[in-house]
């Protein structure tokens, strides 16, 4: 099965490990991700102002690219891109007045009415491939690996974009268990990492990261798995500072869900680009004999 795919900017630069491991894994599971042509930045954050329509143009143009490609569904990997495309799409579907204004403004484009469905690849794994089919393709079960599933914000909130239950999501838990790992439940699984505040208020991110990481560690996690490149950055890059601040903090490896998926499917670990991240997830995986 082919699925139109929107990567977004960060996956081509800072989060290659998220993209390459996901593309290879989906391929192994029988889904070919077809990158849409002429995509542009999604704008990263959905405009929350009633009178600001200009910032909806970027995500809507991407949805038009999907429609032009003859596809009615687009898969995303980055949590920010998912959120922005999903909400802009709902706006085009449900708000006739704003849809008209935006379509009129983009006179060079075909009219867009929200025909495309925006999905996150975790949903594709759950709903299209199915946990049982994934389990059947696991070559390297992640036995003995205790992983805290961290969801962050933009895949779950607000309600209309939630890929799972807002307050009690289980999709990452289910994926981890399918791969043979132990999902470590912890109370900060849906707590915000501080997001873009890393730009203007980096010290506060250190505090947010500590709340989340120490909570996962207290529950016995050996690693934390997530979907978002910004959560990945905030929760991993701050760790060196946390080690200086808290002498008993030894660090917690941060992994993308697709990296663990690729490892479990027996795909070469080079698609995970472990070398480009922070911390040392590779040592943990080697100690469990999951990669050679």
């Amino acid at each position: 099965m082919d699925l139109s795919y929107y990567p977004g900017c960060t996956l081509k630069t800072k989060a290659k490990g998220l993209e390459d491991s996901a593309v290879a894994s989906m391929d192994a599971l029988g889904i070919r991700l077809v990158e849409i042509e002429r995509w542009n930045c999604c704008g990263t954050v959905y405009s929350l102002a009633e009178d600001d329509l200009a910032h909806h143009l970027a995500p809507v143009r991407n949805l038009i690219r999907v429609k032009e490609q003859g596809s009615d569904r687009v898969g995303t990997l980055c949590s920010f891109c998912y959120h922005t495309l999903k909400r802009a799409n709902l706006l085009m579907r449900n708000d006739g007045e704003k849809r008209q204004t935006l379509n009129d403004f983009m006179e060079e484009e075909v009219d867009y009415n929200g025909e495309v469905e925006v999905v996150h690849l975790l949903e594709v794994l759950r709903d299209d491939v199915g946990w049982e089919n994934i389990a059947a393709k696991v070559r390297v079960p992640l036995q003995g690996l205790k992983v805290a599933p961290y969801y962050g914000c933009t895949l779950l909130r607000p309600q209309e974009v939630a890929i799972d239950q807002v307050e009690r999501p289980t999709i990452l838990h289910q994926l981890l268990e399918t791969l043979g790992a132990e999902a470590v439940d912890f109370p900060h699984a849906t707590e915000c990492c501080g997001s873009f505040q890393i730009v203007g208020n980096p010290d506060f991110i250190t505090q947010c990261a500590w709340e989340i990481l120490s909570s996962a560690l207290r529950r016995g996690a050996e690693a934390l798995v997530l979907t978002c490149p910004l959560c990945h950055f905030n929760l991993s890059q701050r760790q060196s500072e946390l080690m200086q601040r808290y002498s008993d903090f030894q660090g917690l490896p941060i992994l993308y869900f697709s990296q663990l998926l690729a490892i479990a499917l027996g795909i070469e670990s080079k698609v995970c680009h472990f070398e480009s991240g922070y911390g040392d997830p590779l040592s943990l995986l080697k100690s469990k004999n999951l990669v050679s």
Binding site: C9, E50, R157, P158, S195, F196
Partner: protein
């Protein structure tokens, strides 16, 4: 917290602007405090999110402007999904930020960010940070 209200502030343009930009009914809030109870950035805020709404209801623009709370909101929408009165507080915070940003006032000065930091940050951080904190 000691505040002084008057008909001048209650009927100010500020109240109308916040309601218009956010699309929210500020008076729907009955100050239950659930937004503040769940806010992950509360530890750094001088005013709690529910206090910002209260001040906005009363049109006390200057008190809100003196606080850094709206600039610490990370738009995580925890308050939005939990508000029992259906107030999308994330949109209210955005509206209050925009009222300042639209006066061409930046909260973050791009040139103050060290070169190495800019090189290290993921693109989504920079774009969203500047979208939320610069004019």
């Amino acid at each position: 917290m000691r505040i002084q209200i008057s008909s001048r502030t209650l009927h100010s343009d500020f109240v109308k602007k916040v309601a218009e930009i956010s699309g929210q009914d500020l008076l729907a809030c009955n100050q239950c405090g659930k937004c503040s109870a769940g806010c992950p950035m509360c530890f750094a805020m001088d005013l709690l999110p529910n206090q910002v709404i209260r001040l906005a209801q009363l049109g006390l623009e200057e008190d809100i402007a003196a606080s850094k709370t709206v600039w610490l909101c990370a738009s995580c929408f925890t308050c939005t999904v939990r508000c029992p009165r259906g107030v999308d507080l994330g949109r209210v915070m955005e509206a209050i930020r925009l009222i300042t940003l639209r006066k061409n006032v930046d909260y973050v000065e791009a040139s103050d960010i060290p070169r190495d930091t800019i090189g290290e940050l993921p693109q989504i951080a920079l774009v969203s940070g500047f979208r939320k904190h610069t004019a």
